[in-house]
Amino acid sequence: MKLLASPAVRVGISISIATGLYGVSFGALAVTSGLNFWQTMVLSLLLFSGGSQFAFIGVVAGGGSGLAAMSAATLLGMRNGIYGMQLNALLRPTGWRKYVGAQLTIDESTATSTGQTDPAEQQRGFWTAGIGVYVLWNLFTAVGALAGSGLGDPRQWGLDGAAVAAFLALLWPRLKGREPIAIAVVCAVATVVAVPFVPPGVPILVAAVVAALVGWFSHGRRDEGLEPDVEPYGTHGHGHHQDRHGEHQDRHSDHQDRLGGPERRRGTDPEARA
């Protein structure tokens, strides 16, 4: 009961429920795009990263090869490496916790943890959101997969439309400002142009290359697009992180400030939640 008094635990639980629930849509879409029940479950159990999982089934549904599906999922997983780096500096896990923590490193757990300023709360936030999302995401993936396989023609139920909506919803929170919108538009156009010339699935990889080149050669914010797709602490104004700077001047502040990342804008405002 005492744990529930922790703001990070409360946020972690609510994030787990919200995210877990949309595991239903992943499960249903996965089986209707041609995966069987266990392939769907293995993606949620082992790959465990919403964006990459949707990417894998999105490519398969479009007739793309397994290689193209794997490539899209893997490229989309790169940001988890950046999150891992931030969390390693923040939480300093040791022994087995490193290996378990790595598997739980996703948008939701990163956002819940980095949104806190107290080191103990950062730990609680990460593990609550990480374990909570893992359990519920897998549970609801199974529910969706079982329900989806009994639906018959998926188009009749508009499930192809559900996939479109899911990708737009994953993209949406990252479109803050002119530059990310420009990147999205350029990559959308690159995709459309590539479609007639290359096999299904490959246009997505063409867009990834274009996006990587833009990232490499342009000089925008270094944490562009690394906003996790959830906002556990609501939206805060840009001015906030400057106010918070003082609170970060402890053992991990050095990394925090150099690496950038979700906490730079996502931030937390203890008063706001009190």
Binding site: G51, G77, G81, G161, P180, A190, P200, L226
Partner: protein
């Protein structure tokens, strides 16, 4: 069967990315370009996946009920609907348009 193999490779590589963050000294990855590429690629891939699922059919472009789903999802997102509501709005619109005869 081959799908299984690619699927398992994807799982291994996904875990490898996550683990890299914990084991590679921050020094090697702190180049701002690494973070930026990870970020712009996330945006680019999601934008591309949205477009492919909305208007691509094999190796051709198609305007069908999925465009309606895209519009409905955008409206739901502007209205700050939660993820699941956005997905249901997309599915419902596509299904409805098909009942009305627009494929």
């Amino acid at each position: 069967m081959t799908l299984w193999i690619w699927l398992l490779i994807a799982c291994v590589l996904a875990y490898a990315w996550k683990l890299v963050g914990y084991f590679v000294p921050a020094k090697f990855l702190e180049d701002p370009r690494t973070s930026r590429v990870a970020g712009t690629m996330t945006i680019g891939l999601l934008a591309s996946l949205t477009v492919v699922n909305a208007v691509v059919s094999g190796q051709a472009l198609a305007a069908d009920a999925r465009l309606g789903a895209l519009a409905a999802a955008a409206i739901a997102l502007v209205l700050r609907a939660p993820f699941l509501v956005v997905v249901v709005a997309g599915a419902g619109t596509a299904a409805l348009l098909r009942i009305l005869g627009w494929n």
